[in-house]
Amino acid sequence: MAERIISMYEAIAEAIAQEMERDPRVFVMGEDVGFYGGIFGATTGLWKKFGDERVRDTPISEMGFVGAAVGAALEGMRPIVEVMFVDFTGACFDQILNHMSKIQYMSGGQLKVPVVLMTAIGGGYNDAAQHSQCLYGLFAHLPGLKIVIPSTPYDAKGLMIQAIRDDNPVMYFFHKGLMGLPWMTIIEATWAPVPEEPYTIPFGVADIKREGKDVTVVAVAMMVHRALEAAQKLEKEGISVEVIDLRTLVPLDREAIINSVKKTHRLLVVDEDYLSYGMSGEIVAIVAENALEYLDAPPKRLAVPDVPIPYSNTLEDFVIPSADRIAEAIKELVS
């Protein structure tokens, strides 16, 4: 049978639909998730199938509805709550930071909070400082939250089903530029074969997207694709690049990173999040702690240089790592 090719937003919506069918405790809420199907399409078709009761449009009240997801989860439901852009979690940060992530621990393990909070990340289309952030590093820093960041439709579906079945709070970040939306710059990899039947992908297992022997590049989301593009270019120049897609930051597949660096002896971390105090620093620290003696060169990081994402094309292109700049950084590492 021919493989079925779908986009990432369809893969996410399909995962949710299948879990809603399987488990009556699963429901969805958020702004424009109903009739509209979510601004980024992640709830396409759900409202038609499941109706107002289980697919709830909310008012613009993030503190209220994210907190309500926590409350509903405490009473045995399994809410999926969409915060349209990760930037808007500012409006409900207390619920995430002090409640969703901590109640299980504070209650001595009596209570669980199986909420999936899904939200859009990423720039590259001039939406500027309040609509282009990634911020997963910020949430990964908080104990108690699982952090999922798919980069392909296949992973998006398997990781979403895994997230819904997980008894812990999960933050699920999808990159707008990878969803396969008709109004974004088209990235071929956002349409891919996805099985129709439900399946899960365990958390904490990185995906080696491309084997290589000269340098390890670690990335998530859009940067995985930019790194692959860079790797492909460099192949012609005789540089062999290994690309690792972490897929989840918490739990983190430390083994995969360490083993790869032990093999290639060089590390580049590429991140669309801010440079300092984030994912890139964490990974470099893990390598320094576990494989320092294997390194032939100091590790490198390429990330947004600690400025908010600017609006203008010339400025935005300068701060978000491009395939060309990734290739340059790799060349510097191997030279």
Partner: protein
């Protein structure tokens, strides 16, 4: 009190400025996005939320403001900025992402700031309300008679910041006016699905402040209600809330298919279009002749064309400027 002719003409001119500016912005926006819509395509990239249809609100309110009064806008703020007396050239250049733009290409369409005009806006719903309350607090502490105005959509009236801000403003008797623009929707969600009150004006009572509901398609109705609220604030009598019932003729953002709007709804609201209706009224009442009205139209169109030319011819920021302004 009868309104002077000059003021009436100014109201008309301002509404027209907003309308013609934004109609041109829409054309330029789509110019870069056909045949294939790509949101990142120049000359005006990114999301675009237009104010077309709602001009009477910003115009009627800002007509009472001085340059040193503060305005906190929204994600849909070209109209608020223009009504406050903003610079069309710098505004247009910012939309293009040029160095000469209001924010040197850093802010863009949703993040317009003009320090000289005490104007700011942003993309996070409701976040401007506490800023206006804080500005009003500053005015009061500084012994000034200035006011701060926060424009928000009806959707924003559901966010926590709205309620906390109204309460603060009320207990501290601050010179702030909250103007709610009820254009029936928050993206696709109709007001009936997001609040159980008929009008946000009713909510004012919960905080012990005056609240009124006005026809937001009638610039004179807005002008009068805002005049009272702003005068009250200047006199030190505290905050108030005005809800203006209006309609956005376009999608929430450019490219929104608007499937959530019932058929025929826009046609009904077109009959109430604040601009042709006000023009007809001014002519009917002998305030303007047909020729004078046409002349205003030409003058405003020329200003918009000039702004566009300025934006197109302006230089891009240097890429490295991205690293400037985190700290000063």
């Amino acid at each position: 009190m009868p309104v002077e002719r000059e003021k009436l003409v100014e109201l008309y001119r301002t509404m027209l400025k907003i309308r013609l500016f934004e109609e041109r912005v829409a054309e330029i926006y789509w110019e870069g996005k056909s045949p294939v819509f790509n949101i990142a395509a120049d000359p005006i990239p990114g999301e675009m939320h237009l104010y077309i249809g709602e001009e009477a609100v910003a115009t009627g309110v800002c007509a009472h403001l001085r340059p040193d009064d503060m305005v906190a806008g929204t994600h849909r703020s070209h109209g608020h900025y223009i009504a406050k007396g903003g610079d069309l050239k710098k505004l247009m250049a910012e939309l293009f992402g040029k160095k000469t733009g209001l924010c040197q290409g850093k802010g863009g369409h949703m993040h317009l700031f003009d320090a000289g005009l005490h104007f700011g806006c942003g993309g996070i719903i409701g976040a401007g309300i506490p800023h206006a309350v804080g500005a009003a607090l500053a005015f009061k502490m500084q012994g000034k008679d200035n006011v701060a105005v926060s424009f928000i959509g009806d959707g924003a009236a559901n966010i926590g910041a709205f309620h906390e801000s109204l309460n603060l403003a009320a207990i501290w008797k601050l010179p702030v006016v909250i103007v709610v623009e009820d254009n029936l929707y928050a993206i696709s969600v109709p007001k009936s699905k997001s609040t159980a009150v008929k009008s946000n004006a009713e909510r004012a009572a919960a905080y012990g402040i005056p609240g009124v509901l006005v026809d937001g398609m009638d610039v004179m109705a807005v002008y009068e209600a805002a005049g009272e609220a702003i005068a009250r604030a200047r006199r030190g009598e505290g905050p108030s809330l005005i809800e203006c019932l209006c309609y956005r003729y376009r999608g929430h953002f450019e490219g929104d298919p608007q499937l959530y709007k019932p058929e025929g709804e826009e046609e009904e609201w077109r009959k109430k279009d604040p601009i042709p209706n006000f023009r007809a009224k001014l002519i009917r009442e002998g305030i303007l002749t047909e020729e004078e009205a046409n002349k205003i139209q030409e003058e405003v169109a020329a200003l918009v064309a000039e702004a566009e030319k300025f934006a197109r011819e302006s230089p891009w920021p240097e890429p490295e400027e991205a690293l400037k302004h985190v700290f000063l």
